[in-house]
């Protein structure tokens, strides 16, 4: 792997490091601290980011775009044009899906209503979520017991419901749930299934951030439209598209925007929410943290480098004599230079290895303190190592050059 001469030099450097253990340890310390702080900083910020990505995945994925009605109010009063608008309609969803027929992999509509919900055990005012299309997949719900909605359920607007974990335990604290009936307003609705409980805690000691998602009472959107809060225009409260490829989202978003503006008399009474773009933005904010961490790592490396130079100065007398003796017995300036640099290389490498281990330990402690899982990227290791080697070498160059330029006579006489 290495040439014989280099291996020999490496061995000599190792012997020298062992012979001057105190000096070498101090020199290594600077590298260790720098590497540990770069790696630790990166890993903590990566772990935090990864955790928030995981949250999006649990919410149904990042590759989504949602459209919601929104007020385009100017000066406190809705414009006449907006008043004449019908809001977000099922037609918008259908046309939008047509627009992205080759790029979308799913679309869902949501139509909400409020109603009094009654069972033998509870009587509460609840939000009813009318779902359509691929709602469950796009929002990360899975059926735990019973079944999901069939095409007939959707098509006929049948009075069937799937309950979230919290709703299920509220309305049916004991006994079999599937097959029971709840009254939603005046409509008797048959519970055909339940959703698995959705849990996400950013930190382990925090509350469940998804608790409200367990309160869902899902019925076919057609049921809501026909028998609860529907109208002949088939207004909807939310449309969500899912994509095969994150890269097409922006283009689709532009197309969707102009399509909807056309349908809505050029009034922007809707809001398109590109979740991938939002996450990208968060990521770029995360990059700022990475910069800060890298900077603090670089500062510790510079500090370490200065410690290094200081040690070189403090041991100058000893080193100059040493160099003088070596030159007298036949070491050339180049030999001395290479010797110093090999020593620096070895110290940097050893320091980096210790520093990487230290960085892993450091990140582990901090993330367990924050109660989030540790996530480390190989690129963080590479960065930490590259930075440490770069600075290690840069700070070794001057003493090495200086030593190699010593005149043997003066070095021998140095007091």
């Amino acid at each position: 792997m290495f040439s014989g001469a280099f291996r020999e030099r490496l061995f000599e450097a190792w012997v020298e490091i062992r012979e001057n253990l105190g000096r070498s340890t101090l020199q290594t310390l600077g590298v260790v601290l720098g590497v540990a702080s770069v790696l630790g900083g990166f890993s903590i910020s990566d772990s935090q980011r990864k955790r928030s990505d995981e949250r999006w995945v649990k919410l149904g994925g990042m590759d989504r775009m949602s459209v919601q009605p929104s007020q385009a109010v100017k000066d406190g009063q809705p414009t006449a044009l907006q008043n004449a608008n019908l809001g977000l309609r099922n037609e918008d969803a259908v046309e939008g899906e047509g627009l992205g027929a080759t790029t979308t992999t799913g679309v869902s509509q949501e139509r909400r209503a409020r109603a009094r919900v009654r069972s033998a055990y509870a009587d509460q005012d609840r939000q009813i979520t009318g779902i359509g299309g691929d709602y469950m997949a796009l929002n990360g719900y899975t059926v735990e017991k019973g079944r999901g909605f069939t095409a007939e359920d959707f098509g006929d607007g049948r009075a069937v419901a799937i309950l979230g974990a919290e709703s299920a335990s509220t309305f049916f604290p004991t006994g079999e749930i599937v097959g029971q009936t709840v009254r939603v307003g005046d409509i008797p609705v048959v519970v055909v299934g339940t959703f698995s409980e959705k849990v996400f805690r950013f930190r382990e000691n925090q509350g469940n951030q998804f608790w409200w998602r367990n309160r869902i009472i899902a019925v076919p959107s057609t049921l809501v439209a026909r028998r609860m809060s529907g109208d002949k225009w088939q207004r909807v409260d939310r449309v969500v598209f899912r994509f095969k490829d994150l890269n097409v989202m922006e283009k689709f978003g532009d197309g969707l925007s102009s399509l909807l503006l056309g349908n809505h008399r050029q009034q922007e009474d809707f809001r398109i929410d590109d979740i991938a773009a939002r996450i990208r933005k968060r990521r770029s904010q995360g990059d700022v943290y990475n910069m800060i961490f890298m900077l603090s790592g670089i500062l510790s490396l510079i500090g370490g480098g200065m410690v290094n130079v200081n040690i070189q100065m403090a041991t100058l007398k000893e080193r100059v004599r040493e160099v003088g003796v070596k030159m007298a017995i036949g070491a050339s300036g180049g030999e001395i230079f290479k010797g110093f640099m090999t020593e620096a290389l070895l110290i940097t490498t050893l320091g980096s290895v210790v520093g990487l281990l230290g960085g892993v330990a450091f990140s582990k402690v901090i993330t367990s303190f924050l109660q989030i899982p540790l996530f480390m990227q190989p690129v963080s290791f590479i960065w930490a190592f590259v930075l440490a080697s770069g600075f290690g070498f840069a700070f070794a160059l001057y003493p090495a050059w200086k030593a190699s330029r010593l005149s043997p006579m003066e070095a021998l006489r140095y007091e």
């Binding site: 001469a5 030159m327 017995i329």
Partner: protein
């Protein structure tokens, strides 16, 4: 390699320190020839220029003017690394203050010149141990210089000087830091090495030590005075 070629041959060697007004003329034209196998003592009071001459002979310093050839190699105008090579291959230094690396073991101190000569690790170790045996302290190979007595340290330094079987052994006050009994022993070692065919140049201010040499070269004010021949 012919045996009649001199080990040291200088002509008009001049060394000036400083410049112009403050210039100090340490050497004012030295013509000196040392043949192979000689034991020469370089004597003179301090300030006579003997240390400067020794540095130039040892290729640690270069002359301001004049020529110098060691074992037939002219050294003027040679690069730093070429001089280092000559020091490594042709000269063995023994200093008054030993100049051993304090943190390296004895055997490693002896190995160093072999390292710079590119000798393999195994061979280095073998030869260093052999040399330590030759100077009479084979059992101290793995200790640090600090635990040795002055005489033992000087023996290590001599072993190191002999490592690459140099053409010239150059000793600068080798007994200066030793008591007289140990000094005698070290001088005895030099005489023994000389009898084995090594060329020795010994710098001293002690007339007794100088009297042990075959030839005495006396320096005064940068010039050689009375190069008297002594019976062997």
């Amino acid at each position: 390699m012919t045996t009649d070629r001199p080990i040291i041959e200088t002509a008009g060697l001049t060394k000036v320190f400083g410049a112009n007004g403050t210039a100090v003329h340490a050497l004012r034209g030295i013509d000196l020839t040392v043949a192979r196998g000689e034991f020469v003592a370089l004597v003179g009071p301090s300030g006579s220029g003997k240390s400067t001459l020794m540095a130039i002979i040892g290729c640690l310093d270069s002359p301001t003017a004049g020529t110098y050839a060691i074992d037939g190699v002219m050294v003027q105008g040679l690069s730093g690394s070429a001089l280092a090579r000559i020091r490594n291959e042709k000269i063995g230094f023994v200093f008054q203050s030993y100049n051993l690396l304090p943190k390296a073991s004895i055997v490693r101190n002896v190995e160093l010149p072999l390292l710079y000569a590119g000798v393999s690790r195994k061979e280095r170790r073998r030869r260093a141990l052999e040399l330590l045996e030759k100077v009479g302290i084979p059992e101290k190979a793995n200790v640090l210089p600090a635990v040795l007595s002055g005489g033992q340290r000087q023996r290590v330094a001599i072993a190191r000087a002999l490592a690459n079987t140099p053409a010239l052994l150059l000793a600068d006050e080798p007994t200066g830091a030793l008591d007289s009994k140990t000094g005698e022993e070290v001088l005895g070692l030099f005489q023994e090495l000389n009898r084995q065919g090594n060329t020795v140049v010994l710098v001293t201010h002690d007339p007794h030590i100088a009297s042990l040499a075959q030839r005495k070269v006396e320096l005064r004010d940068g010039l050689v005075v009375s190069p008297e021949q002594k019976a062997a």
